[in-house]
């Protein structure tokens, strides 16, 4: 089914907070829902489809969270979708919302995401143990102490081994993010950093430094996707998904290539559906839990050949106005926001800002009509969900 023109992203909102001591998780979801609906010019009563993932309060009680969230929001629904694939879920939700609208299941779809790991003093180690204790792979992994950082460290180490990628090249990804974040008043880290600053920061998990890692932040975001008739009645620019892909990449019984993420499949599918090529993309939001995440996705999505990522990102390659591909012009997860350890929502929001011409003037891509957003949920070095969206602004 062609996606183009089936539905439009009419509302997008990112919570300004990065430390939500004064908000519960449920209230953060309400805040972002209200923000996205106001941005669209729609009301609570217009929403008849709701999309959420495992970050809603109550998720830990199996099956309870989404129903509880719908009640707390006060929605009256015809359609509910709780597809969970961690940080990539929200890009998947956009594609699902378009499908649901095209199938007549709803006309106005609300997607929310929120988290407060900073307020809750999140520990990656404790979180990893809790998340995976009943999973089938857990007995064969937990004894060895995989925490998120060292699994991504193994991706980076292998990339360096196969392709000669350097720590300096990875550092350029953080430099680009910080260059953009200086213009974002809400960014957690607004200070520009240099390659040397990254290399001088402590090693977290070899070969990754502290500044190769994203921030841990509270907040969230929301999107509103609407039927074409609804979208045309509003006063917002018309942004439509034209290509989408989703994949689950896993370890396949121990037969896998750690450098080939699910993005290999999702990029191929999304570009084929959209009928465009990577070289046509004017702006890209790429998941940036770590610098290596961006590098691998650039290669996997086809922006450059495998092994070329290091040269692609070096010397400001991802800086808006300077480089060959502006990436994460809000400062991304590396410098601005990675709310609830789930970065997919903010990836879509910045792509929408760029397509509307509403990014910060210092980072706005001139006449941006074609953008890509890509999310990873889980861990690139292990099992993960990958989701790609290609978005177009209609003239």
């Amino acid at each position: 089914m062609p996606l183009k023109g089936q539905a439009y992203i009419v509302g997008a909102y990112e919570h300004p907070t990065r430390h939500a001591l004064d908000r519960s998780l449920g209230q953060l979801h309400v805040d972002v829902a209200a923000g996205a609906l106001a941005d669209a010019g729609l009301s609570w009563a217009d929403v008849d489809g709701y999309f959420c993932a495992g970050d809603v309060p109550g998720w830990e009680a199996q099956g309870a969270g989404p129903l509880s969230m719908v009640e707390y929001l006060g929605l009256n629904l015809r359609h509910l979708d709780t597809t969970e694939s961690w940080g990539s879920a929200y890009l998947n939700h956009v594609a699902h919302a378009v499908q649901a609208i095209a199938a007549g299941k709803c006309r106005v779809a609300l997607i929310t995401q929120a988290g407060r790991p900073r307020a809750e003093k999140f520990s990656p180690e404790a979180s990893h143990r809790l998340q995976t204790q009943s999973a089938a792979e857990s007995p064969f992994e937990a004894p060895y102490g995989p925490v998120v950082t060292n699994v991504y460290g193994m991706c980076a180490q292998r990339h360096m081994y196969e392709h000669g990628t350097t720590a300096e090249q990875l550092a350029w990804i953080k430099v680009a993010a910080s260059h953009h974040a200086q213009h974002n008043p809400h960014a957690m880290l607004r200070q520009q950093v240099t390659v040397q600053d990254v290399l001088d920061s402590p090693i977290v998990a070899t070969p990754l430094h502290r500044l190769d890692c994203c921030v841990i932040s509270d907040g969230g975001g929301a999107l509103v996707v609407a039927h074409p008739e609804v979208a045309r009645s509003l006063k917002r620019p018309l942004v439509t998904p034209i290509g989408a892909g989703f994949a689950v990449k896993h370890l396949n019984g121990g037969h896998f290539d750690i450098l080939a993420s699910g993005g290999v499949q999702t990029g191929r599918e999304a570009f084929a559906q959209a009928g465009v090529r990577p070289a046509d993309i004017q702006y890209a939001s790429l998941y940036d839990s770590f610098t290596i995440t961006v590098l691998m996705q650039l290669e996997n999505l086809g922006f450059c050949a495998p092994g070329e990522g290091g040269r692609f990102v070096a010397d400001g390659g991802l800086i808006s106005g300077i480089g060959r591909l502006p990436v994460n012009t809000d400062g991304g997860g590396l410098c601005s926001n990675h709310p609830g350890n789930r970065g997919g929502m903010t990836k879509v929001i910045e792509a929408v800002r760029q397509l509307r011409g509403e990014a910060h003037p210092q980072v706005q891509v001139p006449d941006c009509r074609l953008a890509l957003a890509h999310g990873t949920g889980g861990q690139l070095g292990a099992r993960h969900g990958s989701a790609t969206l290609i978005l177009e602004r209609e003239a």
């Binding site: 143990r129 204790q133 009943s134 089938a136 792979e137 857990s138 007995p139 064969f140 992994e141 937990a142 004894p143 060895y144 102490g145 995989p146 925490v147 950082t149 060292n150 699994v151 460290g153 193994m154 991706c155 980076a156 180490q157 292998r158 081994y161 402590p202 090693i203 977290v204 998990a205 070899t206 070969p207 990754l208 370890l251 396949n252 019984g253 121990g254 037969h255 896998f256 750690i258 070095g381």
Partner: protein, 128 residues
């Protein structure tokens, strides 16, 4: 050699044989009899075909380092690794050595067994 005591694995009925063998100093793999391919982690059905036509096999315990990462600030520091076994599958494990900085991708390694918190032995690898 290693001060870190690994957390103990949860032992499920389907893979108890793997853990019993580890206590005897043997590394087991599971093999898909339809494709002839060994796989890890073990499960009764083949991840390649879905078939239950699979069996246990004893691994040589030899492999090479596929990738690794050291957590230098953990107490004590430790090295996580993917080890590519001689039989084909890549398995997650730890590398044990006095000198974590000396470890390299491509390095040959040999299985060894370390007691976890409960006394259950778990397979790890050391340079050979």
């Amino acid at each position: 050699m290693q001060d870190r005591i690994p957390p103990s694995p949860q032992i499920w009925p389907e893979t108890a044989a793997y853990w019993d063998a580890a206590n005897e100093g043997r590394l087991l793999l599971r093999r898909c009899l339809d494709t002839g391919r060994a796989y890890h982690y073990p499960r009764p059905h083949s991840p390649f075909t879905g078939s239950g036509n699979t069996e246990w096999m004893q691994a040589s315990g030899k492999g090479t380092v596929y990738s690794l990462s050291v957590l230098p600030r953990a107490q004590p520091p430790y090295c996580i690794a993917y080890v590519e076994l001689a039989e084909g599958p890549i398995m997650l494990s730890n590398l044990l050595t006095e000198d974590l900085a000396s470890l390299r991708i491509g390095q040959p390694v040999q299985v060894c067994f370390v007691a976890s918190a409960s006394g259950q032995m778990v397979p790890m690898f050391e340079p050979c």
